[in-house]
Symmetry: D2
Subunit: 352 residues, 4 copies
């Protein structure tokens, strides 16, 4: 019997609107490597949504690829990137940042987040150190929005981090692998325009937000990375049929001819229901007295679950295993997505 | 007005059978990163087709990515890879091999091919050199089948290269970006089984042969690359929704449930018509007295075209610009693919 | 006025015996790149001293170079190296390990040391993790003997670490930048032979122990690193006049013709007096009630010094600044070396 | 019996003036890593000699290290370096440039040299290519002066190459491993000042020109490489006792206290006699009718030697084996250096 899918947000194919756009355009002939009208239109639509019409967008394939490429292209070889110790680049990318030559300078995280104060402390300590020239220089800050634990930076927090970055000449990069689920959260006050004005570069995640695959890297200033096209090619990140990315993001950002409704930003809308489902699960857990491991306002809910009840749960539901909590409890994750079905949520609420 | 598409074989989306398989499976929930049943079935089907059931297949996204990853994973850091000076890795991959730390040791090419004799000469000269320990050691041979010029290695040629590789402890790697169009050529006598028995590793190209994207790396001996999964992840080449690759290759290799006809190897069949179209173009060029730049038995036809006639041609047809030939002529390419239409070929034959 | 030198152990040139050997052999003509009789004799003498006649020795130039080269040559690209958070490779090598593609997996240190238990914990956690294939695999353990804080691993501790390394297939590498001062300490029970039998590779430091420069990498099993000579060249670590290293180490390891006394291991002897000087300083600090920051039995003494007294100290003595301790105190280092003069120590003891 | 040394210019230790300076300063205590007065004085003296007082000098250890470091620090990751196919970086550095991530873009060489026209052709072809963004961009030109075959670029040739570099935004880098032997040749018209005004960066070779080891990298504009000190450290190229390089170059460039005669540039003078010896050998070869393989005006003489006579020659003389010429002849090299003795030259002339 099929188990109802709550383990992650990349278990299905593409959102119907995205798949439909791919099907409808399938037999058209266009130039390769992103030199097609769909890619151009998607870029324009995203820049419009981000309020930075003079910027640039590059469409890449996956998150680890995007992180490694952006960080390697922007850091000088003697620099490292500051990240939360729980940051994706610090833990689950198989050493891709180091393979590109750079140290990840980790900071302790609170609910998956780091603070402007902690960043300032690290940077100040570096520049105060007499032997700093024998050490890796901090050159960039990496955040994820939402974080790996589903939590959110507020606009105020992001602005404060932006400030410390200016002070210490650090680039600010935001990993938006699940950005649609931040945009869909009532707790969120950081818009795409805010990201474009407060960061040097960020990416709008597609893989976990309804695309077959794909991430849109937004450069508010288009010349940020000289030779970026060639570097994308060199890193094996250039899709031959680049329009497949353009079509998918076009469907999400209201591009005429591929989007279900021209001008309507599906990407900004689809997260609302997804997050609502997750928050119902959260409410139920609290109601039942199951402690949250981390309190998340987005589509990932982490809780401390009695081991005794896991078999029953696992019989009908796929959930994410995180880590052992104590001898009798496990930290698990429930994750909703654009593909989550109302009736599956109801079934889960019932069993909890 | 739409120009008829003969410039390359990656201008459209996916073969209808492939797209159909994606659409039908779209809403199913499966585990990520290739741990799904479609990927497993596609791997099994490919290994069966290659006659190496104990091997392994890894599904990657694009050709440059595959070449860089395979070569970097297999060479030791003091080794380089032997390739034709016209080889894709030597010219059009933006230095990806060097970015991975390795020198491309180029040999002069004849019709895009290199010979066992030339390889033997290079290897022998290296080991005869008194200061060879100050030099890059040849560690691998890179071939493409068909080559970048559409030509083919015969089984005899491949076996001879296999021999010299054994003699000098060189790994043999074949880039099969357009392999379906070799398999579809009457001139070809190298089967998938031959590739599996004569090479250490090769890839079956999907991007140019009917998939949205995707390349299947075949390792006849499954333990050839320790830690390969982690290395794929590290290089940003691991698709989160890995099953998208499994489904597409499954459709091509007869996997029940995704292929149009279970057990039928569409990949081995679709090239025939494509090559036939190209050979009609070739015949017409010869008939008209237009010199072939290189004589190719597959889906790419290279000819020396009078500049004076290019505007007329370009009005109705997309063709590939290669290089200037002399003051009055240009080398151009006509390329057919699974998406080529009979009537478009007819229209082209008429104008030539 | 000259300030008496207690800040570090690389402030002077070479031990007189070493310099004398260089002067005496200066005008001889020998082959380059280490293919000279002095280098061969030094290698043989060191292997004899280490009790591993079938091993190999390679002479490199400096410590960071040696660490980066050894670690890069031995780790597979998906592996990282375990080290104390205070380890030289984790802090003061400008990201050389990451520049070579590898993550440093840090463990909390106690007096600059890590334990077999902590290593076991890290390795076990890695192999217990469900998503370990998305993470950097631990592949090696890096220790320094003495540590960066002058402390020593005992033979028992080293044997326990050797055990856990075997259990988890980790290579064990010891950085002996100041090894002569371990060998010269009464508290030490780890001999060169122990290092050769308990580690996979280690280096005997020359730069800080009486040479102009130079480190001798000992491979108890000579084939540990295929292509090592070429890799040394590639990393820019191959000295053209390689015999300069051979002559210097020959002088330290009793090679006939260059050593002051053939067969006498100056390297094992010169540390005794140096450590004795340092321990007199330590005793004086304790006597005066100045707290030790870390209690070291070798040539580096770390203490918490009142800021108020630093100007007086600094007027006559060079000492090492480490870090701020509290608002009124600083952690400083006194370091002795083969070049330390008895009367300078006396002067220091007086002022303390 | 000792064979007289004509095989290369790095078979002995240091020039007596250099060794003397090391001996006299041996027991002084100075700060490490180049922060000592000798290094500062040598830097100032070299900048004075080069006529670029606002530049910077960094002292490194060996040639391959210097080439790899300079090229990696200056190229962007999508760029390659143009060099003669016989250039040291293209052949004998064990792939160090590729290990740093960059392709060597080779040009055919005439007598070891490349021309401004050939460079222009390569650059123009790159920028004319429609798919140049898929290719490695030329970013730098590497020359050696003298070349690996002992030949020299004239001031006019160098100025023409400087011009084409400006035109195509290429950095110009000159490898001066044997620069003293260019400066000592009557045929040379390129001064240190010319190098400083016509190149972006070059190095003054010490290892082959009288030092134990060491190369002085001259940056006519001091801010050319941000973070250069840290990068030197990261590459393992930072000498702990940095003053050993400062003292040696100080002795060569007239620094008071270490040079035999303050203000006198020994480096500019010592080559004259060395080249004179080599030219006597050249004259004798011509006189005897032995064909020169390449006609060099510096300290390396390449000739085509009858195999039948090699045993006699080899009995008394060390010479350099280059390559087989034909079935009966071999290309060999006679190399003189600062250590060459008048009577040894006389003996060689006699036997030829």
């Amino acid at each position: 019997m099929r188990r109802l899918p709550f383990s992650s947000d990349y278990m299905e194919g593409a959102h119907p609107a995205v798949l439909d756009a791919l099907v409808r355009t399938n037999m058209e002939s266009t130039d390769g490597y992103g030199a097609d009208p769909y890619t151009a239109a998607a870029e324009a639509a995203i820049l419009r949504a981000c309020g930075c019409p003079d910027g640039a967008v590059k469409f890449l394939i996956g998150g680890t690829q995007t992180n490694a490429l952006v960080i390697t292209c922007l850091l000088r070889p003697y620099q490292g990137v500051i990240a939360a110790e729980s940051g994706h680049i610090a833990v689950h990318e198989a050493g891709a940042i180091e393979a590109g030559g750079h140290k990840v300078l980790t900071l302790p995280a609170q609910d998956g987040k780091i603070t402007d104060e902690a960043i300032r402390g690290l940077a100040a300590a570096h520049y105060d150190n007499e032997v700093r020239d024998h050490m890796v220089q901090p050159g960039m800050v990496y955040l994820s929005q939402p974080t790996e634990f589903g939590t959110l930076y507020s606009r105020t927090e992001l602005a404060a981090i932006h400030e410390v970055c200016k002070q210490y000449d650090l680039l600010l990069y935001v990993d938006g692998a699940r950005l649609a689920y931040a945009l869909g959260s009532d707790a969120n006050d950081v818009s795409l325009q805010d990201l474009a004005s407060l960061t040097d570069i960020f990416y709008i995640g597609g893989t976990k937000c309804g695309l077959l695959f794909g991430e849109a890297v937004v450069l508010p200033h288009r010349d940020l990375i000289p030779g970026f096209f060639t570097l994308i090619k060199q890193h094996g990140a250039l899709l031959a049929k680049g329009r497949i990315l353009g079509v998918q993001f076009g469907a999400m950002f209201g591009v005429d001819g591929v989007a279900p409704q021209p001008g309507v930003l599906l990407y900004e809308q689809l997260g609302k229901k997804v997050v609502d489902y997750a928050q119902r699960i959260r409410a139920k857990l609290i109601e039942r007295g199951l402690p949250l491991y981390i309190d998340s306002p987005t589509n990932q809910i982490f809780c401390v679950y009695p081991d005794a009840d896991l078999p029953t749960l696992g019989e009908k539901f796929n959930y994410g295993y995180m880590e052992r909590y104590d001898t009798d409890h496990t930290v698990i994750r429930f994750c909703t997505s654009w593909a989550t079905q109302e009736e599956d949520v109801a079934a889960l609420l019932e069993i909890l």
